[in-house]
């Protein structure tokens, strides 16, 4: 090493080097210990963030706290749970003057829910994800009066999978979880068969 000939006497070199090698070994051992500790419980699969729909309170933080300008959280729907109601409390604002598709009657601030007549008296409501901002207004509406077919989920084509999710940090009910990347969704189950 370059500094060998720069130290003053021989004994200093040896002590220095002995200490340095000792500390070097200690660092290696500690790294090995950390690696061993991790190795015992490491997971091959990465984890991703997801919302537990049964814990979510649809507070609206998802729309604003995401680091992306347009949140990675969107509303999704399990159609098997939906009652296909004519009066959909996720679609209509409380106090809507008429049950039609006029904008003033809609609960969704971006008009992302499409209402379509299927057969009397059933209507199908679908979500246009491009318009959805993940505010959860419809989720709340559906949960308090309907079947709860609508709920918020992290959409993994958008989510950056931040090490600390800033929505999770702002979630009032602790609904955000790390889930295995091969099962990235927590969907609601149907009660009716």
């Amino acid at each position: 090493m370059a500094e060998d000939n720069k130290t003053i006497n021989g004994s200093a070199i040896n002590r220095r080097h002995f200490l340095r090698d000792g500390f070097w070994g200690a660092c290696m051992v500690s790294l090995g210990a950390v690696a061993g500790l991790l190795g015992r419980k490491y997971k091959k699969k990465d984890t991703v963030w997801q919302i537990d729909p049964y814990t979510c309170v649809a507070c609206g933080n998802c729309a604003t706290y995401c680091v992306l300008e347009e949140s990675a959280v969107k509303c999704v729907k399990v159609f098997a749970i939906c009652g296909y109601c004519d009066f959909c409390s996720a679609y209509y604002e409380p106090g809507a003057v008429a049950l039609d598709t006029a904008a003033e009657n809609q609960l969704c601030p971006t008009g992302a829910i499409k209402r379509e007549f299927i057969e009397d008296p059933y209507y199908e409501y679908t979500i246009d994800e491009k318009l959805c901002i993940g505010c959860g207004k419809c989720v709340k509406g559906c949960a308090v009066f309907g079947n709860g077919a609508l709920f918020l989920q992290v959409r993994h084509d958008r989510c950056l999978n931040c090490n600390e999710c800033s929505i999770a940090a702002a979630c009032p009910s602790g609904a955000f979880k790390r889930v295995p990347a091969d099962k990235p969704y927590l969907l609601k189950e149907t009660v009716h068969t």
Binding site: L38, G83, L99, F145, N161, E164, Y185
Partner: protein, 437 residues
């Protein structure tokens, strides 16, 4: 057209049902007898999958390659230009392409959490990002900081008019990184927050979006970074703290010139990070006796400092523990239950909806606070120890006959190489030899 009265009626029912449990299927899903309408399939949702795992392995591969190449460029090729090019690549790949996540600095918290939380299994990429640069540092010095870390790269690029920071100020500011490391480990271990990620000043640039506060913070760092070399790396980076210490014992190190130093002092001007140590003068008369006494006092002072700081860490546990969501919630519920506040928050409403006992929540919160008490002792003690050792380090005189790069502080950027007249001579000679042959 529906009569308004009908809707008002419905609204009344709506209000009555508000208290009913969420998500009950009040309206049986219909059977479409007339149209035989098919429900849209569920895989509309589940088909949107996260990025494939293969990319994570590619990231680790790129990290490994970049570390190896950086070490080669710093120790063998000795080319600032090549180091700079690799640095720009790392900024583009780990920064803008991978959006800065996951990074080695943040991985400290994943490691900590996985050690303290039995339920948290660490992804292999986080472990690799934490361990690989440390291993490389033990062999080759801080070549990770030189050209692989995207946070270092973005600061290095804006460094146009470096000014030198006074030694005393640099030593003081550096202590902050230790406090930051201690706090980050404490908050990660208790499962409260990942503060390193939360206050990462450059990640908003990498993502090209972020909160206004973080953008302003990042911009401030970059503006300061035009004059003060890599302010985040030197004074704040918690991973840098670990790398510093590991780099002290590295097998290989940055040499300003492999040839003999002619003590011109040019390299010292070239280093924007104040990491080049000048040769020491002869010891003044009587210095030895004085320094012996000072060292003895300091050695006595170290445990006192560690105890004091530990106690301080313990004393601030009520404030620190508020970083944990359950403690915040418990304090809020207490305020509401004792009538000290009238309104409710989303969090308290959500808690009451779960039907969990307030007592359980209080017990949980006080357990977390106790953890913070113990953690406060440990982290505070660690910080006290660091301050004490720092003072000892400042009093101990090392004998140096040449200008050399400080093992701990050198970021291996390679700026000093071409400032050294000996190095230029060496390169010229090498060229001539190549020319002759």
């Amino acid at each position: 057209m529906v009569r308004p009265g009908y809707i008002i009626n419905r609204m009344a029912v709506f209000l009555v049902l508000c208290g009913v449990a969420l998500g009950a299927e009040r309206f049986p899903p219909p059977e479409f007898v007339e149209t035989n309408h098919q429900l849209p399939p569920i895989n509309q949702i589940t088909d949107v999958t996260p990025r494939s795992d293969i990319y994570e392995y590619i990231d680790v591969g790129v990290l490994l390659a970049a570390l190896g190449l950086s070490s080669y460029l710093v120790l063998r090729k000795r080319s600032r230009r090549a180091i700079f090019i690799l640095m720009v690549f790392s900024l583009l790949y780990f920064g803008f392409w991978r959006k800065g996540c996951i990074c080695s600095i943040g991985a400290i918290q994943n490691i900590t959490l996985s050690i303290f939380d039995p339920d948290y299994a660490i992804p292999i990429t986080a472990a690799a990002f934490f361990l690989l640069p440390l291993v490389f540092t033990l062999f080759f010095g801080r070549t990770f900081c030189a050209a692989v870390c995207p946070l270092g790269a973005i600061q290095d690029i804006v460094l146009l008019r470096p000014v030198s920071v006074p030694k005393w100020l640099e030593n003081m500011l550096r202590l902050f990184a230790y406090v930051y490391l201690g706090a980050a480990v404490l908050f990660a271990a208790t499962g409260s927050a990942f503060v390193i990620c939360r206050y990462d000043p450059f990640i908003s640039f990498f993502r090209l979006s972020g909160s206004l506060n973080m953008l302003i913070l990042g911009a401030c760092f970059l503006v300061v970074g035009v004059f003060i070399g890599r302010p985040y790396c030197r004074f704040f980076c918690p991973y840098g703290v670990i790398l510093r210490q590991f780099s002290r014992f590295s097998k290989r190190r940055v040499t300003i010139t492999p040839d003999e130093c002619i003590q011109c002092g040019l390299c010292e001007d070239s280093c924007p990070f104040g990491a080049i140590r000048e040769p020491t003068a002869e010891w003044p008369v009587g210095y030895y006796e004085k320094s012996k006494k000072r060292l003895a006092y300091l050695i006595i002072l170290v445990p006192v400092l560690a105890f004091l700081c530990g106690w301080m860490g313990f004393a601030v546990r009520p404030v620190m523990s508020r970083m944990h969501e359950r403690v915040r919630l418990a304090e809020r519920i207490y305020l509401e239950d004792t009538g000290k506040v009238q309104d409710v928050t989303d969090a308290s409403t959500a808690f009451r909806a779960t039907g969990q006992q307030t007592k359980e929540l209080y017990a949980e919160a006080s357990k977390i606070r106790d953890e913070f008490g113990l953690g406060g002792w440990l982290v505070g003690g660690f910080i006290g120890l660091v301050i004490g050792l720092k003072l000892i380090g400042l009093t101990v005189r090392r004998q140096r006959v040449d200008y050399e790069a400080d093992r701990a502080g050198c970021l291996a950027c390679g700026r000093c190489f071409e400032y050294c007249p000996q190095e230029r001579l060496r390169l010229k000679n090498a060229k001539e030899i190549i020319g002759e042959s």
